[in-house]
Assembly symmetry: C2
Homo-oligomer: 391 residues x 2
Amino acid sequence: MTVTSPKGFRAAGVAAGLKSSGGLDVALVINDGPDTTAAGVFTSNKFKAAPVLWSQQVLRHGIVRAVVLNSGGANACTGPGGFQDTHHTAEHVAAKLTASGGTRAVVGAGDVAVCSTGLIGQRLPLDKLLTGVNAAVRGLARDGGAAAAEAIMTTDTRAKTTVAQGEGWSVGGMIKGAGMLAPGLATMLCVLTTDAVADPGTLDTALRAATARTLDRIDSDGCMSTNDTVLLLASGASGIQPTAEELFEQVHAALDDLGRQLIGDAEGATKEIRIEVRAAASEVDAVAVGRAVARSNLFKTAMFGNDPNWGRILSAAGTAQADFEADNVDVAVNDVWICKGGQAAEDRSKVDLAGRDVHVLIDLGAGDATATIWTNDLSHGYVHENSAYST
Amino acid sequence: MTVTSPKGFRAAGVAAGLKSSGGLDVALVINDGPDTTAAGVFTSNKFKAAPVLWSQQVLRHGIVRAVVLNSGGANACTGPGGFQDTHHTAEHVAAKLTASGGTRAVVGAGDVAVCSTGLIGQRLPLDKLLTGVNAAVRGLARDGGAAAAEAIMTTDTRAKTTVAQGEGWSVGGMIKGAGMLAPGLATMLCVLTTDAVADPGTLDTALRAATARTLDRIDSDGCMSTNDTVLLLASGASGIQPTAEELFEQVHAALDDLGRQLIGDAEGATKEIRIEVRAAASEVDAVAVGRAVARSNLFKTAMFGNDPNWGRILSAAGTAQADFEADNVDVAVNDVWICKGGQAAEDRSKVDLAGRDVHVLIDLGAGDATATIWTNDLSHGYVHENSAYST
């Protein structure tokens, strides 16, 4: 159920004192091979954190032998000094792994991806981090995935892991993220592992296609992070080479599960809202309408108040760049068609919003394309958590 | 200080029972001329309320003799029946005005603009509205502007009026709006009057240019309404024809003042935030960056928490479609330069956020264009007001 479920991976999670809570805060995932192919997808924010800039360089070769991750600091907006910290961390991991003798070969810093998460704008305490790396190298284990997943948590209330099973091979994964969840990507650190045999190009295609339909369609609070990183590492240890389609399917399944877990643990949320847009003129239109609704604070506060306010759904949908006629739009909330043809239909008091799961179905009457966006409500808990603490 | 400050206008505000509170809810503004030229700007939402569709037709002729406005119901997403209600209301106003004999000429329904605000998706109680129109026609007065401004309030806590003085002529105005404040336009009903002499084309040019730099740069909660309407009516009663530039200046001054009043009265807000973007490559870029920050819930909750979290400002700015380098960006909050060159600079504890007014200055280091966006914080009050009541 973790990044160490597939064959060929070890991991560790240790407490290095980066988090004031004293919890686990440094994770290490290594690929023992035989293959060390990899792919990555990163934030499109102009302010990319130092570890993102570093890992983008690493991924250019399509080879990753180790990923070191820390919570307790994002190392974003930290200038050249912050980049040197990341570089130094990767070098330290490489040296320690090589010295430990437990890996097949000499590990270079250029084979080590780095991920960081936490407060923006502060340098990391490098001495603590490197001491943590030493402990993590010593603690690497075939069952270390759970500890690694715990070590990357910030405001997450629970560790988030997954596994998707192919025939004789599998995809394991871990993810963190609770706020700043929005596309391009949803804000997160995510590491997927697989023991399938796959070249970097195949991994890249599968990862991009799967993130585009999963993590990229989560929009909890519309805020895009400086540190988003999703990595996919392949060990080839199963000896099985799935087709590109088979690989996509399992990567998609793993990311879909992890994405649902993000929405389920979003800061202060009391609702998990599935916005399904159908009968759109194109998939792009469907996504645009779903996202416009997902980002409407008026819609989100109405959901928090258990108010099936379809007027706020329409007024948000009406701002999207999408091809449809206002008079053709139907809206159902939890299976009650409260709006038909752009006006009131069934009695809104029939809508039951008492539960945590909400399904908003928007039929644009403009074509046959479909897309689903996931979001949360906007609650007092969100305001409290994000006004009372710096993140 | 109201729509009846310029010569040539009368107005009234009456209680017709549309609001459950029993407060004033029907307003009437009439132009006694000698001119009756007019211009209008409307929401770009695909779901345009019936009164918006109606008034857009009226404004095509460039002539408006009367504006009837109601709170207590938006008449949006009400289908053909809702449009008939609007049509009927305009006809009733025209007939009553003609019968009253107080106007220079026969008034046709096509000269009557209609504005509505309130809950989306419900038909208006037409009998009450028309009875209210009768009372409003009877109550028309040269000093009726204050009552009219009060009658268009919804969740506004105070009436909002203005006057801008030209040389021998003036612009008066009223506005309502407290939630759903976002561009294209900021959500509102707004009526401006002037006793200047101006043809419809000149009025239209001045109104569009002025709204683009005032109301269109307010972004309180990112939500765009179905009913936004801004009207400018000219009576020519001063006998003075200002230049296009002079007209623009006073219309701009009136809208700037009304816009500030909107931000000052936004739902649940504890901060009025001026986001000034300078040294942008273009004005479009400056607006894009300012808007991205204004729409970040993480930035807005930080402001509510008196937290000068510049990392959230940068991460929001970094999502904008704008041409700048991350390493060149400086940020000051209330005159303290907490970020220089994309990284930490002065001690953030020096920033005083105790007051209601916040000035965020973002220097992109990319050119010489500037723009200012106004927004509010995201508070418990906003969540409460928008989750506890349908609007």
